[in-house]
């Protein structure tokens, strides 16, 4: 499980992720395989709750790599994402070394001589010792490589996007005082976005672009099966069928995979073996997150349940 070489085939990726409980569609598996083969970051877009972040976690678990996560937000800058100088430590060291300074400069007769001697010490205070690595730099320093998850990149500012470009294309960052730090082992980089704002072309150009939408019915059933083991086959089918019907409505927030799984867990907890009107009505708030959405769905519940159960008979 801790093999380090790129995955052998798309099927290997699929089964590897499945072993971690992540059922990937073929497109997702292809993207992960390609990212490995041509060493490119993956930019994952899609509605909330379809498993974008989960994908990174699954890859990390499958490859046995450390996962480093950088959560983006407005105002995130390089001091928090890349590196920072340990100012306090620098200050402390100068205080402690003050006395030493006299000894070092003791032999110097003139100011120039003293300066020359000081120069010999070089930039001790701007060395690796005093750099506090933040997620991006940490990711480059991992000797075994890692999975770097840059979460919700669309929440960050446009400036931060430009900061990422060097990192994404060459897996290196430049620290003015130290020079360029290249990755020991190229990390697997996953960026996620909820398409809250359009990302720049420069960023997109450097990535494989993967769109994860709502899964097909069959795939979703498999996902529920792997995530909620105790669920009966009948209920699983009906539940997924019902949710697919709900997704055809015009709602503020459509239920996504995470809601499906939550709902399945709730139903299992309530020891349901089949979908019933009353039970659906009572637990609808697990599935839908807005009052207006629930109101819009309530009148349709009976038809949807009927449809889902009928599907089951034929399917």
């Amino acid at each position: 499980m801790t093999e380090h070489r790129p995955a052998a085939s798309i099927e290997a990726v699929e089964s590897g992720l499945a072993a971690q409980g992540y059922i990937a569609s073929r497109q997702i598996a292809t993207a992960v395989y390609l990212a490995d083969q041509i060493e490119k970051p993956i930019l994952v877009e899609g509605p909330a709750g379809v498993g974008k972040t989960e994908l990174a976690k699954a890859i990390a678990a499958w490859r046995g790599l450390k996962m480093i996560r950088l959560q983006c937000y407005e105002g995130l800058d390089e001091a928090k994402a890349l590196y920072e100088w340990k100012y306090a430590k620098q200050l402390l060291y100068t205080q402690i070394l003050k006395d030493k300074l006299g000894e070092v400069l003791g032999g110097a007769a003139t100011l120039h001589a003293a300066l020359d001697q000081l120069h010999d010490f070089g930039d001790v205070f701007f060395s690796k010792e005093f750099v506090e690595p933040r997620p991006l730099l940490q990711a480059l320093e991992q000797p075994a490589g890692c999975v770097l998850l840059i979460d919700e990149i669309d929440k960050s500012d446009a400036e931060f996007e430009s900061l990422l470009l060097e990192m994404l294309s060459d897996f290196q960052v430049t620290i003015p005082e130290l020079g360029t730090v290249a990755a020991v082992t190229a990390p697997i980089v996953i960026l996620t976005s909820n398409s809250e704002r359009d990302l720049g072309d420069a960023l997109k150009r450097r990535c494989l672009h993967l769109h994860i939408g709502f899964p097909e019915q069959k795939l979703e059933e498999r996902i529920v099966e792997s995530r909620v083991p105790g669920i009966s086959q009948t209920l699983r089918k009906q539940l997924v069928g019902f949710i697919n019907e709900v997704r055809t409505l015009d709602l503020k927030k459509l239920p996504s995979v995470s809601e499906t799984i939550d709902w399945a867990r709730v139903l299992v907890l309530l020891q349901a073996s089949e979908l019933g009107h009353e039970m659906v009505k009572d637990t609808l708030n697990v599935l839908l997150k807005y009052e207006s959405d629930i109101e819009a769905t309530l009148p349709q519940v009976s038809t949807f349940v009927a449809k889902a159960t009928r599907q089951n008979v034929f399917g």
Binding site: I10, R26, Q27, T30, A31, Y33, L34, Q37, I38, K40, E45, Y87, A88, L91, D157, A158, E159, R197, D198, G200, D201, K204, R205, L208, H209, L210, H211
Partner: protein, 463 residues
């Protein structure tokens, strides 16, 4: 196959997917890793590497299907073989037929050697070979340069020339005298060849010519007066307006780099460096605050201006990322606020509702402006741009230019967009010259191009 991929990139560009050289290199590398065996995976791979938005993925998927829609050669070969086998079987079953043909057969073999290569190929009925020949001819006449449907005939005849149609015609003439039966077969095969070439050219036009054709249509539409569009053009115009909105969004939604240099912000510097005993390791600079545009739009929805107002409102309300705050008002005889209507409904429905409320009346600018002053004068602040869209034809009623003057004084800018041409201003019941004195900018706004320019300028003034 590399050649094929290059052609596919060209086709992708034709389908409106921007493929940069770097992306095509990535795609090449990805395809090299994946191979050509599985068409589904190849499709996914190209979609992953080339298309960068959902729309592009859709366009590229369609393009892929079209591009690789040619019949599978192996399958065709099988059919051929089957057909040949059947023929053989028939000839074996009927020895009498064979004897009849026997006289002709040797002579046709002689003829074959005298024929040109194309005729030989056609008579041998090797569809694979023919398809390959057409493909070769197509690439040697640069079929992928095709842009307009009027070029179809030209490219077809060029490909046929390249294939050697002239020699074929001579052969056919010769044969007509010597071997009419064979000539007939050849003539039929030639017809089929022509059909194949025509199909190839049509497909190429679909693949490579789409962008150009679309551009041409958009260009015409862009310069057409918005007030007089046919019904089917209205939909296209809406699509065009959405495209314009996207372009403006892309241009203005990214905040330009704020000036880093300037005055030291002492308060923030001290606060930031408190951890180090006030030794200023980090400096904080005063930043210029940049407003997002605030817009108050007043739109005439009477008669001929209604259509233009429709597009204008659609454009303004598609600029969410760029424009902070839009309040729209519609008027003809009197004025109402329509911002909520436009936010809550689709543009078509909203416009229908607006029209049923205030539309189709004869316009009265005076009382509409008075309504505005009563209703929403407080919305006009020194950061606001007020846009009035109308022809300023007030049916000889009191224009109340004094209210417009007050609006102009309160606002950052007062822009008047008039769908009528400059020459018509001031004639008949047009009050344009009187209003114009209080406006910061007055411009004509009859076509989509002018509309884009006007809105772009307004948004740019906030950057």
């Amino acid at each position: 196959m590399r050649e094929n991929l290059h052609r596919f990139f060209r086709a992708a560009r034709g389908a409106g997917v921007r493929v940069s050289p770097a992306e095509s290199i990535d795609a090449m590398r990805a395809v090299a890793a994946i191979g050509f065996e599985d068409r589904g995976i190849l499709r996914d791979t190209l979609l992953l590497t080339l298309a960068k938005t959902q729309d592009e993925k859709k366009a590229l998927g369609a393009c892929f299907d079209l591009f690789f829609a040619r019949p599978q050669p192996s399958q065709a070969a099988n059919e051929n073989e089957a057909a040949e086998n059947a023929e053989q079987a028939v000839s074996e079953q009927s020895p009498s037929g064979q004897s009849e043909q026997g006289a002709g057969a040797p002579s046709s073999a002689e003829d074959m050697s005298a024929l040109g290569p194309l005729a030989q190929m056609l008579l041998s009925q090797d569809r694979n070979q023919i398809a390959a020949a057409i493909a070769n001819a197509a690439s040697s006449v640069n079929l992928s340069d095709i842009r307009f449907f009027t070029q179809r005939g030209l490219f077809s005849s060029r490909i046929l020339d390249e294939l050697g149609i002239r020699r074929l015609r001579d052969d056919l003439d010769d044969m007509l005298a010597s071997n009419p039966a064979l000539a007939e077969r050849l003539a039929m095969a030639t017809e089929r060849l022509r059909d194949d070439v025509r199909d190839t050219v049509s497909q190429a036009l679909l693949l490579y010519g789409r962008e150009e054709a679309e551009n041409l249509r958009a260009e015409i539409l862009r310069n057409a007066p918005m007030a007089r569009l046919e019904l089917r053009q209205v939909e296209q115009m809406r699509a065009l307006i959405r495209k314009i909105a996207r372009r403006l969004r892309e241009r203005y939604s990214k905040p330009r780099k704020r000036p880093r240099r300037g005055h030291l912000d002492v308060r923030r510097t001290i606060r930031r460096n408190a951890a180090w005993g006030g030794v200023p390791f980090l400096t904080a600079w005063k930043r210029k605050h940049r407003d997002k545009p605030r817009i108050v739009a007043l739109c005439d929805v009477s008669g001929s201006v209604a259509q233009v107002s429709d597009f204008f409102l659609l454009l303004i309300h598609s600029l969410h990322e760029v424009v902070d705050d839009v309040r729209s008002f519609a008027f003809s005889g009197h004025l109402i606020e329509v911002s909520d209507l436009l936010e809550a409904n689709t543009p078509e429905k909203a416009m229908g509702e607006i029209m049923s409320k205030v539309g189709f009346g004869s316009s009265d600018y005076g009382s509409s402006l008075a309504d505005f002053e009563k209703l929403a004068m407080s919305a006009v602040t020194p950061q606001t741009t007020v846009i009035v869209l109308g022809d300023a034809r007030s049916n000889n009623l009191d224009p109340r230019a004094d209210i417009l003057k007050r609006i102009g004084e309160r606002s950052k800018r007062l822009v008047w967009l008039n769908p009528e041409g400059r020459t018509a201003w001031g004639f008949g019941d047009s009050e344009m010259p009187r209003y114009a004195t209080f406006c910061s900018v007055v411009r004509q706004c009859a076509t989509a191009r002018q509309l884009e320019r006007a809105v772009s300028d307004i948004v740019a003034s906030y950057q």
